[in-house]
């Protein structure tokens, strides 16, 4: 049977790629060292497949068909089309894990979830940046899972936690031996293309980090539900963290690093959950 061997979170701002060469030395150093720790930990777990939760950033989906949750079930996906992501991966086609993807999809639909699915997605910077910074010039097999966090209404934090628990059950019901690492990418606070652009809400970030360490699902859902309406729009991506949190069993986590980072416009954070 498949097994969740690790659950991680990592931020994914475009500027980490777009502005890489012009970032302050200290910022680059911080990013280098923290994503290296993340990469080393992930690689040490020898995963067969990564299930990566992120949001699409107007690369795959438009207002004519916005999925709340979408599972990528294809054997092949496309590399990031954003100009600033060109050339970061060596492959023309990125490998999906069709069997696990389809299994999770079927499981989800039997378990009273209503995901959309895709036979082929574009892996945008949301998934691409953490993989690249972890040192994957070649992308390993992934099951990409997209959550709508760019145009409201978004799935509720409560629903995201339920999604995470379902994902754990789905993976553990997969009949082949697979070592699976689950990611939630994005966050922490940021504000993009709205009047408070550039704002990094450090109070919010520190409060969220504390929640991921200690809160029950109910506390986490309630707190996020309240706090997300009072901070920058990009903070919605903490929902992806809450999914990874639930997949891990909601037993707390180890912060690999956090820095409010004006150059990348985000509260940048990385973490590994305890698997409970």
């Amino acid at each position: 049977m498949a097994k969740v061997v690790g659950c991680f979170a990592a931020s994914h701002a475009p500027n980490i790629a777009r502005a890489w060469d012009t970032l302050n030395e200290g910022t680059r150093e911080w990013l280098n060292s923290r994503y290296k720790i993340l990469g080393d930990r992930v690689k040490a777990l020898e995963p067969d497949v990564l299930v990566v939760h992120s949001n699409d950033h107007w690369i795959n989906f438009f207002l004519d068909n916005i999925p709340a949750f979408l599972i990528g079930i294809g054997a092949e996906h496309d590399p990031p089309p954003e100009p600033f992501m060109k050339g970061l991966f060596t492959q023309d086609i990125l490998p999906g894990h069709a069997d696990l993807g389809r299994h999770i999809l079927d499981y989800a639909m039997e378990a009273d979830f209503d995901p959309s699915y895709s036979h082929r997605v574009k892996i945008d910077h949301g998934i691409g940046i953490p993989l690249w910074r972890m040192g994957y010039n070649e992308v390993p097999p992934i099951v990409p899972v997209f959550i709508n966090l760019v145009e409201k209404p978004f799935p509720t934090p409560k629903r995201c936690l339920a999604w995470g628990h379902m994902i754990r059950n789905a993976i553990e019901a997969f009949p082949k031996d697979l070592r699976v690492v689950v990611f939630g990418t994005g966050g922490l606070s940021h504000s993009i293309g709205e009047t408070t652009m550039g704002w990094i809400d450090e109070d919010f970030d520190l409060a969220c980090i504390e929640l991921f360490k200690t809160a029950t699902d109910e506390q986490l859902a309630n707190e996020l539900g309240q706090r997300l309406s009072q901070t920058g729009n990009g903070s919605a991506e903490l929902r992806s963290w809450s999914i990874a949190h639930a997949v891990a069993g909601s037993q707390g986590f180890d912060l690999i690093g956090y820095a409010p980072q004006p150059e990348t416009l985000i509260g940048c954070g990385l973490a590994e959950w305890k698997i409970g």
């Binding site: 107007w58 709205e194 009047t195 408070t196 652009m197």
Partner: protein, 92 residues
């Protein structure tokens, strides 16, 4: 209110020749979409204040880059349109 066609126009400018099209052929790009007259005018005038409530913020972010604004310029430009509510959120 989300303006479908305005957002679609910006969404489709994300292609590799988007900047070129917008710089050199703006009127023709605009003519491809059934936009309201005031939206057309706002696009021709770079009238961000009019466009702001009609556009998804991530597409606005991309649009400001397309117009040549770097991060600091984008931030300064958007800040002008802050409401009391936005400011309260910032200070709260």
């Amino acid at each position: 209110m989300t303006d479908y066609w305005l957002n679609k126009l910006i969404f489709e400018l994300q292609g590799p020749d988007g900047k070129d099209q917008w710089s050199n052929d703006r009127a023709n790009v605009i003519a491809r979409y059934p936009l309201l007259p005031e939206v057309k005018e706002a696009l021709l005038q770079d009238d961000i204040g009019t466009l702001l409530p009609l556009m998804n913020p991530y597409l606005m972010r991309f649009f400001l880059l397309l117009l040549g604004h770097d991060d600091q310029q984008s931030i300064a430009l958007l800040e002008k349109f802050q409401t009391d509510n936005d400011r309260e959120r910032l200070n709260g």
